[in-house]
Amino acid sequence: MGKINIEKKEYSGIPADVRVRLLRLGVKLSRTVECIELSSWNAGAGIVPQEEIVLVSFSGNNFISINESKAKTLTLIAYSDAKDSVLNLVSSVPVKRMVFLPADSVALNWMCRNVGKCEIKSDSQKQSQARISVSSVFSSDTEFHIDSFHYEASSFKLSLDSVNYAESKVRAKAIIPEKALGVSCAIDLFSLVEGGSVELSPFIEISNDNIKASHSALARGYDKAELFYLYSKGLSEEEARILIRKNILLRNLPEEEFEQHLERWENELD
């Protein structure tokens, strides 16, 4: 079991490379920063942010949840300078901004709801691999604006899976500048439409030819063939729908960490 350190620091007190990368992303922070340091293998710690800006530094495989917050708005900065690290995060509070500052082979798995209007910014480093998987229940109106910035020989994958009940918009934009040679980038947006309206916009801007980029967006209702198959196995309509929703929301996340939270959300939705 790892340790969690929580302390408040002035902006000038946070690591210089974090400040440089935040500047590069155009993120200006002037307030007190709540710094949460997660060392290896944290499992399931509940965090209640006190400040509007929370810097989560992590190494190894970590799991935290944020189900309440003392701050009016919340900016989360997920930062790791340790290779092969993962931050698994569950949140059910509004998040104004999520900033992802990964080292090589670092992943952010984020299952969220009630996120409101959220901006995600990601900054991959040279020759690094980074991945963001977001699974979200859009039970109230939701807006995601995602911008990823890419540097030489970096690899980046973003997947966003959602179940939509409200008026929701997702715009994900990858910017690959002229000097970012050898970039590999994939953006995949998916929404199961249970109700309301969903808008998916995966954008790419590319300024050199030494890249490999793809994006996809898929919005649909329940697949009738999938439902029929599950009915044929004896599942009721409700059970089949729950299973399909669960499969969608957990397909890009480590199931064991997130499953019980999702089950609780399903019960609350009922």
Binding site: S197, E199, I204, A213, H215, L218, R220
Partner: protein
Amino acid sequence: MKTESSKKGYVYRTPPGITKEAVLKLSEIKKDPAWMRELRLKALDAFLSMGLPSWSPEIPIDFSKITLFTKPVESQQSDWEKLPKEIKETFDRLGIPEAEREFLAGSGAQYESEVVYKKLKEEIAKQGVIFSSMDEAVHEHPEIVKEYFGRLIPYSDNKYSALNTAAWSGGTFIYVPKGVKLTMPLQTYYRMNFEGSGQFERTLIIVDEGAEVHYVEGCTAPLYSSASLHAGVVEIFAKKNSRMRFSTVQNWSKNVLNLTTKRGLAEENAVIEWIDGNLGSGLNMKYPAIILKGDNSRGDILSITSAGESQNIDAGGKVICIGKNTSSKVVGKGISFKGGTHTYRGLVKVLKAAENSNVSVNCDALLLDDISKSNTYPTNIIQNTNSLVKHEASVGKIDQDKLFYLMSKGISEEEAKTLIVLGFLSPIVKELPMEYAVELNKLIRMQMENSVG
């Protein structure tokens, strides 16, 4: 001996500038009915007061230098031999009369602001098909024109539809009666010959119940140092069980800004297809749209974009599903080279009522060098729970293994790259009539010359 007008190359031109005086003069020359004159003036007010959309690329144009109207000849002809020698030679070089003889049901040619030639094969005319210039249609078929003109693209739609509505001249009017199926295409060729010209043709096509037609348009202009403006508007009404295919090979020169609005409305079981080849112009903004209003209607958009040196080609398509069980396929293929910028911009919207609709969008781009750019901006909106909207896109460079294989067979690098590009574009090119497919391939080869190194 040359007449004064043939020396100048035109009969009349309005002074440069998009002004009320120029619009009124144009309206007077056209002998517009009162409703059209009023519409032009309202549209001009809208044009002058409207801004550009926030997402638009920068449009390098000085409207005070654009000539709103140029009348090239005294009257429209249906006999090539009666056209002025200069105009005839221009279209002869483009192969227009030959194409008419060989594979067209009817053809027309617009030179500057007016249609100078229009001819429909006799047997087609006997079936009740109308193929005329819009100028003629306003006077000869006023009820139809008044009913449909601006219904799909009102002047308030965007700045350039407002400009077109104020300044429109020429263009094509097609009416295909119930059940008439044309096996050969109709065609109009557009040509701008003067520096600083504006061409604002207006096209209105009505395909009645159970009818079928394929319309092809081609566009060229010579290269000058200052910008010319092409801002056309095309409206298509496809009635129940009808089928309409609209193909374009746009090869304007690089000093032309091509800002065109095209929209089709498909009623029950109708099919609309846009085949859109965008090779020319310095700046292109063209997104053919289909409104699938009727149940079981279908609309496909196949678009090719080639952006070379000093070109910014912004193209794509829009699909709006309103009826039940509607379906659509959008395929975009773009190449960028010699510093050109290619952009795919698309919108798919499935409304709440459009149950069981299915839209798939696939757009791929090839970057041929490290100074060119490729952008993709799709927006997909779904408002019901039993439809499907799928978008996929990929961007990359030429596959080095394929290039190496072709070069190992003794093919030069330039030729190998051209072959790979033509193969990449072929799924769309093959949808064009053979003659246009050949022309398009030739144009791409010409554009790509010296693209290696």
